[in-house]
Subunit: 342 residues, 2 copies
């Protein structure tokens, strides 16, 4: 069988700072559009690829995390939507669409498909399967409902509130009857958070000189739930403004990604005097809740009660810049790469 | 009715550093050994007073905590064991013994008795009602069982492990089938932790240059539960050594008490990559569990399965130095003041 060109985004080598476009390179290799006989593998065509902040962790030479680092010289890996071209695995049929971990390339040979889900024909945009209905959406759902145990009427603060996770957290909190305030880093994002996503309030943290005072202004009664996507100074300020029995879901620390040594958090004494729970979590420990999540979120989406903002880049060539852009907040909403049309 | 002398430990004024002996002064005032008619108050003779690190919080001019600050010019207040002398409250009879909040003085008029518990005649030392069976013991119990959700065979690390709380945490963890290591600041304490309290291992943190390396040595498999009584550098090192799904009970930050601005904690990213729960808690939110705690701990104590180390000072005059000594680790075990014999 003939080989075809396969454009790839290659990981050049380990880094100890946030990724730059030049840490990746585009390369064209050759691939046979065939899964080896008896291998159990599948050969897929990638349609959408997801840019997620957790991918930075795989660009470090550190084995202690829940997922191994990338291999220098090989294509990056991430969540994507793909179409099966050839299959030696009875769970996958040519023509079927799946979301799951795949390579940052046009075609991937996937030997042991991971975290894959079959996509049923539906009138939901295909790319949403790596966003609203994928890892970020599920992270928002389990982080908010399982880690934060929200009650109606509680005061909820969400940082990076227009991001892939934050935008859904805030909307779920509103639907749950909470008072919700979000922060972001541009006035365009603040506008989206208030006017498109329906948060009660939003502010641009870059325009605030004293985050403690800012939070006191937006939360005169204090914060019951802080869904933390950024860490750093915002976390420290939120700690000072939590209410008794408050909960902090620690979902990301994107503000710390640009530093080689993370900033110190100084206000942990609040945990003691206010009986606060602060919890890190990984969505893949809650997979038993995935069916319930899908049912709820699809229902809300079809009723027009939930929106999902995407930042869509065209073509694999745009992927390195899009991934790097996450760490300076360049993306507006969930960052996705369209690799090919169906 | 005649008045008698009443020796008191007076709080001189608010401070922003750990207490010194000179922040308190001994004064003798006069008191009638009578509860005012119809007042609902009780007049008590104090037998034992408890020195607890949380009292430092009440020496600050800060209203946002769970308990109000002390009033300058008046006696300090803390947990104690007292005998009722006169009562205008039907729950209290002269001659009865109680533990609860009382003044740092020989006799106290208590208008609204708080957190009091009647002491039944028993062969347990009276002073244990402010230690093993009091707030510190109950803090150990709910912190370990409710906040840390321990499982048999798990790896448990306790800092300030010979202290009022830590010594019971470690013994409960051993009885629960955990592997337990403690840290303390003198070789005498390390010896007690290993040989009297029966921890598997203990170390003197002041002799260690690199706490991360130390913890890796004592926990080659990592830490499932860290019962944190100290905060600061030890917490930062523990964060690096936690296992997936680890739990950190944040019980105190005594290492930070001597600093005006607390040290930064830099390793909170561990919460995310290892799904760690870090929780502050206050024992008084778990009072429904108090009867179960008393039953368990008294039973263990009577079977000789639990020891409780006390550091007993004689006389109210010794109280200011004893309280100040907590913050430099001068006490060996639970610090108590004997004010009077029964």
């Amino acid at each position: 069988m003939e080989e075809v060109d396969n454009k790839q985004v290659i990981f050049k080598g380990y880094i100890e700072r946030p990724p730059k476009e030049t840490d990746m390179e585009i390369k064209v290799s050759k691939i046979k559009l065939r899964a080896p006989k008896g291998s159990g593998a599948i050969l897929v065509k990638n349609l959408y690829l997801s840019c997620d902040p957790f991918m930075r962790g795989r660009m470090r030479d550190f084995q202690g995390s829940y997922i191994p680092p990338f291999v220098p010289g090989q294509a990056l890996e991430g969540f994507g939507v793909y179409k099966v071209i050839d299959s030696e695995n009875s769970d996958f049929k040519p023509g079927d669409l799946f979301s799951g971990l795949t390579g940052w390339e046009e075609y991937s040979l996937i030997c042991r498909p991971q975290q894959f889900r079959k996509i049923q024909p539906d009138n939901i945009p295909l790319s949403y399967h790596v966003g609203l209905l994928g890892m970020p959406g599920f992270t928002a759902y389990v982080g908010f409902f399982e880690v934060c145990s929200p009650k109606k009427g509680e005061y909820v603060f969400v940082s990076a509130a227009s991001g892939a996770v934050g935008q859904l957290v805030g909307q779920l909190a509103k639907l749950h009857g909470c008072h919700v305030v979000g922060s972001a880093g541009t006035s365009q994002k603040v506008d989206l958070i208030k006017n498109k996503l329906g948060f009660d309030e939003a502010f641009n943290y870059k325009e605030e000189l004293d985050l403690d005072a800012t939070l006191k202004r937006y939360f005169p009664q204090g914060i019951d739930i802080y869904f933390d996507n950024v860490g750093g100074e915002m976390l420290d300020a939120a700690l000072l403004n939590m209410r008794i029995n408050g909960r902090i879901a620690v979902c990301g620390a994107v503000s710390q990604q640009s530093l080689s040594k993370p900033q110190g958090i100084h206000n942990l004494f609040s945990l003691i005097i206010k009986s606060i729970k602060m919890q890190g979590f990984l969505q893949h420990n809650y997979l038993h809740l995935y069916p319930r999540f899908i049912e709820h979120v699809i229902s809300y989406y079809k009723q027009g009660k939930i929106f999902y903002i995407e930042d869509m880049n065209e073509g694999l060539e745009s992927a390195p810049a899009a991934l790097a852009g996450l760490f300076s907040g360049k993306n507006v909403g969930k960052q996705v790469i369209r690799v090919a049309s169906e």
